[in-house]
């Protein structure tokens, strides 16, 4: 046994350095697939449960290793990149330069669609990135198939459209119009008019829960379940009108940015916000969430962009210089900020997942008159969609999209049969609104049993002190008509302090009782054994 382990050690030492490096890489990947640490089995006393859990932990380790190996060897595509040599900086690279270097299929993704009549455009993509809905302020709604650049349907609703959002797939989309929000089908027919919400400013869809969230002009937050149409929650935020609303894809909480500089996070089952963060001294103009749920980017009108860590609710980084009207994170963690007619892409220059350092990666400035309304990265592609006042555009950002999609999660090459099956499975997996919480990994975990521990002596003393202080500091009502004598006042105060002390009586009593018993025992111990029964037991 020992010889074989020694042999293994020797072979490990003599591995070539490349192999050792790849081992380290594999380790980090395995960590990702393990999804946290293993359970501590030492504290278990039940042997059967311990062996069962130990064998399960082994299985998890094996599957994590296999998944890491699959990621290394079997995935069909690799991520895009932009590398400059020498003194050239990545942000000086223009879209025309990229077009020269890249193949024909990708260069088709760079375009500007000019529609000057219908106002600033808002965009939304489906989860697979295949379809896009563009909504112009003056009432133009267009559903486009991005892969074939085919216009599926366009309608003119003849009203202001403030926001558009897809529901669970491209068959349904919602538009926030002048008075109410409407849901349309793929062929442009109006399916539902959502009157309860009032004039909606922003619309977002929570995919796992099938909830359509919206914030209206008076600052009310509405959640509606689109499978049966019931309003799950309508919450009065109490913070006034806002049109900055984003959904955190990791845990499904909705974040609102307010004009006082606070960002509040909401869940449908409570009327009070989960978290309130004071992010900016002035109004918050935009919020964006990283797909892993740990990072949030906010921008305020005072021309600062702040990056927050949501696990500790701490600020990680501040970027000065521009007022970003719209923010968006890509699947790979690139942050896009749009101001005026200028788009700036920031990338995380530190490789580790614990520290983040966002710095300039790429820039793009559009024609002077184009005011950017919305930026959104297209899923699974190295493309960003820009909705602006003269239509919409799309530019290439290498390294922003996830190269390998999973057919069971989002398939850009879906057939209609697959789409229908997927819809049924999505409905079966629909989560109830109670599962929205800040830490979604708590679901399925056992609650730790809290054994009521007797507080220690020190703790009791401390509590007693606090109670006495509270009693001393209470203000007595000033009595009139001759009842306000100083002697009576001091008496009353003494009485209150005595009452506070009375709730901690056991200490003294216990001591005296145990002292008496000890004395009795000592006396009994001195007597010879035959006379012990005559010892006094007080």
């Amino acid at each position: 046994m020992e010889l074989s382990s020694e042999d293994n050690n020797l072979t490990e030492k003599f591995l070539p350095p490349i192999e050792q490096e790849s081992d380290v890489e594999l380790e980090t990947k395995v960590k990702k697939y393990l999804r946290g640490e293993g359970a501590n089995l030492e504290t278990l006393k039940d042997k059967k449960l311990k062996t069962q859990l130990a064998s399960r932990e082994k299985l998890y380790g094996k599957s994590a290793k296999t998944a890491a190996k699959i990621e290394k060897w079997l995935l069909p595509a690799e991520a895009g990149y932009l590398e400059t040599d020498g003194l050239e900086k990545t942000w000086r690279v223009k879209q025309t330069d990229i077009a020269n270097e890249v193949d024909l299929l990708s260069s088709r993704n760079q375009y500007d669609i000019v529609l000057p009549d219908f106002g600033p455009y808002k965009l939304d993509f489906t989860a697979s990135g295949r379809h896009m809905i563009a909504g112009g302020r003056k009432g133009h709604l267009a559903l486009v198939d991005m892969m074939s650049m085919n216009l599926i349907k366009e309608i003119q609703v003849k009203e202001t459209v403030r926001d558009v959002a897809f529901l669970h797939n491209e068959q349904f989309f919602a538009a926030a119009q002048k008075k109410y929000a409407y849901i349309y089908g793929r062929d442009g027919t109006e399916l539902h008019c959502l009157k309860e919400r009032g004039p909606v400013a922003r619309l977002r869809f929570l995919k796992n829960h099938f909830l359509l969230a919206s914030v209206n002009k008076s600052g009310q937050l509405h959640y509606q379940d689109v499978t049966y149409g019931g309003m799950v929650a309508s919450i009065r935020t109490g913070k006034g009108r806002t049109d900055v609303m984003e959904v955190n894809p990791y845990n499904g909480v909705v974040a609102l940015g307010h004009s006082g500089g606070t960002v509040t996070m909401w869940k449908p089952t409570s009327q009070a916000p989960l978290v309130q963060m004071q992010c900016h001294p002035g109004p918050v103009s935009s919020v964006a969430f990283h797909p892993n749920g740990h990072l949030m980017a906010t921008s305020g009108k005072e021309r600062k962009l702040k990056i927050w860590d949501l696990r500790k609710f701490e600020e990680i980084q501040t970027i000065h210089g521009f007022h970003a009207k719209t923010l968006s994170f890509s699947q790979k963690g690139l942050l896009a900020a749009g101001t005026g007619s200028f788009v700036q892409i920031l990338g995380d220059s530190s490789g580790s997942s614990s520290s983040h350092n966002y710095s300039r990666y790429m820039n793009h400035s559009m024609v002077k008159g184009y005011q950017i309304e919305k930026l959104m990265f297209r899923p699974y592609e190295d493309v960003i969609g820009i909705g602006h006042s003269m239509g919409w555009s799309s530019i290439l950002i290498p390294g922003s999209g996830e190269p390998n999609f999973d057919s069971w999660v989002a398939n850009p090459f879906e057939t209609s049969k697959q789409r229908r099956e997927k819809e049924v499975h999505l409905l079966l997996d629909k989560l109830p609104p109670e599962t929205i919480m800040l830490d979604p990994s708590k679901i399925g975990a056992m609650k730790p049993s809290r054994r009521k521990e007797k507080p220690s002596r020190g703790e009791i003393e401390a509590e007693k002190e606090v109670a006495i202080e509270a009693a001393k500091s209470t203000e007595l009502k000033k009595k009139t008509k001759g009842r306000n004598k100083p002697s009576k006042r001091t008496k009353k105060k003494k009485e209150m302090v005595e009452n506070a002390k009375r709730t901690f009586p056991e200490q003294g009593h216990n001591n005296t009782a145990s002292k008496k018993r000890r004395i009795g025992e000592d006396a009994a111990a001195e007597l010879p054994a035959s006379l012990k029964r005559f010892a006094r037991k007080n």
């Binding site: 990149y81 690279v93 996830e402």
Partner: protein
């Protein structure tokens, strides 16, 4: 300057012809799946509910006997057939798939107490209260048999009369001997009219006998003096013997771990023992309310089925203290014998109401040919349900079984009685010197002593 962007060509990601399979791509990255735990929990809940919707365990009843069914025997070579015998001497061979009698073996004058089949499947041995042991030749099933409801009557190949009534019989695995239980334990050969060997201990009758599947010379018996004895045929006396508080009605050896045996006891529990070390039970299986009449192991060795006097059939895991499943019907009266089918899919119960009932071993199982996709889905559902079965919502659904009122009430009474006993014991221990009151663990409590 090196630039590369993602570009996917449609041909690589879609199929060429409509006869091809659709292409599926996997990426197991957890960041693509937000809230995976919540989705998994939802799926576990749905799987538990679906399992309850599809749980229809009763397949059918085999009607024909005119008196209560007293014993059954299964032929290891022929999965479709089962032998059963009743209290009026009627022995039948049933075809399980059509649930009809294939042939009858008339001859016994009184109740038939034991039935067993030889390992090659050719000889059926039966014994009864009319002090006879009869050997029958089992007819080979032919192609025509399945459709014709034949009322064939088979003549016994041999008939041996002896001095006392018999209680049970069992055949040796891979051998020519069979053992009968009566006033003594007797070992017979097929060709001899009198036993070749006999064992006796005390004056009490032997109630049941079972040969070990792994060692052909070892057998376990239980007697009416509340003992369990293990004999070795090569020795002249008993190998091991323990005496318990109540008598054991039936014994079964684990076919996958032949040193372990499980005894069905009169006090409603089954005790699993390691045959080599009988002073302590390995596991106590408690859920029956009344005496356990019969026990049989699944060929996988992971489960066993028990039939009890309280009108129910329960399926226990081999190492678990409580039953996984309970089957009951208003029409099923006292269950006297149970058998687990040789393909581990069905459970048969013979009861006092003259019927043999066929049940599925896994209540929500889909019978018949299952597509691989369906199989995978069933396995996934099972796995995800097991992962979350400790959480309250899922546990409530998985654990839920409808019990007949008498059993439900009796379980409540037993629980109250045990609680009060335990409370009294705890108080006694708290008020007496530490160490004076010693509780024996349940595994040892019911064993009085080990003899020899």
């Amino acid at each position: 300057m090196k630039i590369k962007t993602l570009s996917r060509s449609v041909d690589e990601y879609t199929r060429e012809r409509s006869q091809d399979l659709q292409r599926v791509f996997h990426n197991f990255d957890p960041s693509l799946r937000p809230m995976e735990k919540a989705v998994e929990y939802k799926r576990a809940l749905t799987a538990a509910k679906l399992e309850k919707i599809f749980a229809r365990p009763f397949v059918g009843a085999m009607d024909g006997h005119r008196d209560g069914v007293s014993c059954m025997a299964k032929n290891p070579n022929y999965l479709k057939g089962i032998f059963s015998a009743s209290m009026d001497g009627d022995i039948r061979l049933w075809d399980i798939s059509s649930r009809r009698t294939v042939c009858q073996f008339p001859g016994h004058q009184g109740a038939v107490r034991g039935l067993t089949v030889s390992t090659d499947g050719n000889v059926l041995v039966s014994c009864g209260t009319d002090c006879t042991v009869r050997l029958w030749k089992v007819p080979r099933p032919t192609l025509e048999d399945s459709s014709v409801s034949s009322e064939n009557f088979i003549e016994p190949a041999a008939e041996y009369v002896w001095k006392n009534a018999f209680w049970a019989v069992d055949h040796q695995f891979e051998g020519d001997l069979f053992a009968t239980a009566g006033a003594q334990l007797e070992i017979w050969n097929h060709n001899r009219a009198s036993p070749v060997q006999s064992f006796q201990w005390g004056t009490d009758s032997v109630i049941s006998v079972r040969f070990n599947p792994g060692e052909p010379d070892i057998l376990a018996t239980s007697a009416s003096d509340r003992s369990i004895t293990i004999y070795d045929l090569r020795m002249s006396s008993a190998a091991r013997r323990i005496i318990m508080m109540t008598k054991t009605n039936s014994i079964a050896w684990n076919p996958m771990e032949p040193m372990n045996l499980t005894a069905a006891n009169e006090d409603g529990s089954c005790y699993s023992f390691d045959g080599r070390k009988m002073d302590e039970a390995k596991c106590v299986h408690k859920d029956h309310v009344s005496a356990v009449m019969d026990i049989d192991f699944s060929p996988t060795g992971r489960e066993f089925v028990t039939g009890s006097y309280d009108r129910s059939v329960r399926i226990f895991p081999y190492n678990g203290g409580h039953s996984r499943e309970i089957y009951h019907t208003k029409r099923m009266q006292r269950v006297f014998c149970v058998k687990y089918s040789c393909d581990a899919t069905y459970v048969l119960s013979g009861s006092d109401d003259t019927n043999l009932r066929l049940w599925k071993a896994k209540a929500s199982e889909q019978l018949g040919v299952i597509l691989p996709r369906e199989q995978k889905k069933h396995e996934y559902n099972e796995a995800v349900k097991n992962r979350y079965k400790h959480l309250p919502e899922v546990k409530r659904i998985v654990r839920h079984r409808h019990l007949p009122k008498p059993i439900y009430k009796a379980l409540g009474i037993i629980r109250t009685v045990n609680d009060s006993k335990r409370r009294k014991e705890d108080r006694r221990r708290a008020h007496s010197a530490p160490g004076t009151i010693v509780t024996k663990p349940l595994r040892q409590r019911r064993i009085i002593k080990e003899v020899e």
